[in-house]
């Protein structure tokens, strides 16, 4: 048996207080923003309405961004096709809902939510399958090359959007939500759309599930390592291709889920709807820090809240609130709030 090598004790100095607080800072941002909002808005009922609906909006954005956190954040693939998956998800989901008229048209919460779930599952299956094809045909040759990713995935985006036109026709499709999800609940002078409450539940569940999967399995590690040095990951015995495909499919399926939720919120769907959300979704992933589910979650809540507060206090500034938020966060933390993966 070996004798131990000489041991060394590197020297450690005390960390300063600001250093230590700095780590927890992103977690505090949401509460801080809420309090600031209260102070500047004044009216309690308005503040309550804005806060709750802002948080719910954040959740919906998070659902759309969650897939991108996997694909862009972890796998380092800039996938503009994500926008098309959102649209496809919406079209499939809404078609399913229209077919489930008998569940959505009756005032039963159970049936209504079941219909939404069924639509979500249908959408996720289709976009997941689409993602699989996308990965095989479009993305595979361009891993590691951002520019080419942008181009091929924009190409894919255009193709899918056009195919939506071919399949569903060029007209926008209007729809109404299931009976029990229409209208708002009012309390304390504040009105909250019922649908937003459902979005909050979906968003939270998704957040918890993603966290668990990434914390409890090696998948996250394999992907991050694979992006840096795929050869080495394979030399350790992992079938990297399979993992990449799996994660990409998951990301696409989440885009589909996001599409259904967003379509139901908007009550109108167009082939370009996903594309329109892409910049916002990218902003959320970037300010959150690449690869971080927590970061994207906080980022999405910040975006949702800030949009509402700013639009109430100074509508003109709402035009640039997201961009300003991103720039500010990047000035403060050039890698985003809680990066798991280093940006290149």
């Amino acid at each position: 048996m070996t004798t131990a090598a000489p041991d060394h004790a590197p020297k450690y100095a005390q960390l300063s207080l600001p250093d230590r607080i700095g780590k927890a800072m992103p977690l505090l941002l949401v509460p801080v923003l809420v309090v600031l909002g209260f102070l500047s808005i004044g009216s309690t009922s308005s503040w309550l309405t804005l806060t709750v609906s802002g948080l719910a909006m954040g959740m919906m954005i998070f659902i759309m961004a969650s897939g991108l956190t996997l694909v862009f954040g972890l796998m380092d693939v800039i996938n503009f096709g994500h926008g098309a998956f959102i649209s496809v998800g919406a079209y499939v989901g809404i078609s399913a809902l229209l077919a489930l008229e008998s569940w959505t048209g009756v005032p039963s919460l159970l049936l209504n939510v079941a219909a939404v779930l069924a639509a979500a599952i249908a959408a996720m299956c289709v976009t997941g399958a689409l993602g699989w094809g996308f990965e095989r045909v479009i993305v595979r040759p361009v891993y590691g090359a951002h520019l080419k990713q942008i181009l091929v995935t924009v190409g894919g985006l255009i193709v899918i959007e056009q195919l939506i036109h071919v399949v569903w026709g060029p007209d926008e499709i209007f729809l109404t939500r299931p009976e029990m999800l229409k209208g708002a609940v009012t309390f304390a002078g504040a009105a909250i759309e019922k649908y937003r409450l459902l979005a909050v539940i979906f968003g939270l569940a998704l957040f918890v599930a993603m966290r668990l999967v990434l914390k409890r399995t090696k998948i996250g590690l394999i992907v991050r390592a694979g992006v840096q040095n795929g050869e080495m990951v394979e030399a350790l015995g992992y079938r990297l291709r399979l993992v990449f495909i799996g994660v990409f499919i998951a990301g696409s399926a989440l885009a589909g889920l996001g599409g259904v939720m967003w379509g139901l919120y908007q009550e109108v769907i167009t082939a370009g709807m996903g594309e329109e959300m892409m910049i916002l979704v990218f902003i959320v992933v970037i300010i959150g820090g690449l690869g971080s589910v927590e970061g994207a979650f906080i980022g999405a809540l910040l975006v949702g809240l800030l949009q509402n507060y700013v639009a109430f206090l100074e509508p003109k500034l709402a035009l640039i609130s997201n961009i300003a938020l991103m720039t500010a966060v990047l000035m403060w933390r050039p890698q985003g709030m809680m990066p798991v993966v280093k940006a290149k």
Binding site: M1, T2, T3, A4, A5, P6, D7, H8, A9, P10, K218, L221, I222, R224, A225, Q228, N229, E231, M232, V233, E234, A235, L236, G237, Y238, R239, L240, V341, K342
Partner: protein, 240 residues
């Protein structure tokens, strides 16, 4: 003698348009340490990469542990029992030391007893367990790279220049760790420029030149024959 753990016959490998390996015949006996020696640029690294599957052999065959692995993909070769320490160390620099090790144990959680053994050979890994691997010093990275291959039991280890950048104290603990591996029944194919280490560790040796094996035999024979060394590898090993 039992059948060799690894057998390459007439392996040719191309990198882009260059013909790098030009008919490599190499055997690694079971349970021994085989040194792969040679000047810079003769194809040692290419040989190891062909064995693990990062380069695909154009012709010839590779047999590992009795099965033909010539057309197996890399992960399958790894799972068949080949561990690899690449020349550039292949560290996942954005991951912590711990995460690098967790990944290295592909088939399950880390084995604490094995970790104790690894920590004894490479104490800095314990000290910097939670540090980002990319920030380690050059030598520490080298340690991590070797430790990763040792995280799980393998039948054959391919190790490319492990001692470069290591301080003498660590070289000696690493050498004994490799001997522990051998004692546990593993076989090792080791590329090394440090002739002292080669001499101390090797059971057999193969010398490459120009994409071919030009000499193969017992390490002791090579070590004791300065003229042979001079002929095979240029300057005499003991020169400096």
């Amino acid at each position: 003698m039992s059948d060799p753990i690894l057998e390459l016959s007439a392996v040719h490998t191309d990198i882009a348009q260059y013909h790098i390996l030009q008919g490599v015949d190499l055997t690694v006996p079971r349970g021994g340490v085989t040194m792969l020696l040679g000047r810079n640029g003769v194809g040692k690294t290419t040989t190891l990469r062909t064995i693990i599957g990062h380069w695909q052999a154009r012709s010839g065959s590779l047999r590992f542990n009795g099965t033909d692995i010539t057309s197996m993909p890399t992960p399958a070769r790894a799972r068949a029992g080949i561990g690899f320490v690449p020349e550039d160390m292949g560290i996942f620099s954005d991951l912590t030391v711990e995460e690098n090790m967790i990944l290295a144990a592909a088939s399950g959680p880390l084995d604490p007893a094995r970790m104790q053994w690894i920590f004894r050979a490479f104490p800095p890994l314990k000290t910097f367990w939670r540090a980002e691997a990319g920030n380690l010093s050059g030598g520490q990275k080298q340690m991590l790279s070797i430790a990763r291959a040792m995280a799980e039991e393998r039948k054959l280890y391919l190790i490319d220049e492990p001692t470069k950048g290591l301080a003498p104290a660590i070289i000696s603990t690493m050498a004994s760790a490799l001997r522990d591996l051998k004692a546990k029944g593993a076989s090792i194919l080791l590329v090394e420029q440090n002739f002292a280490v080669a001499k101390a560790l090797g059971d057999t040796a193969a010398v490459m030149d120009d994409g071919r094996i030009v000499w193969a035999g017992e390490m002791a024979e090579l070590a004791s024959d300065a003229a042979l060394q001079d002929r095979l590898m240029g300057l005499s090993m003991e020169a400096h």
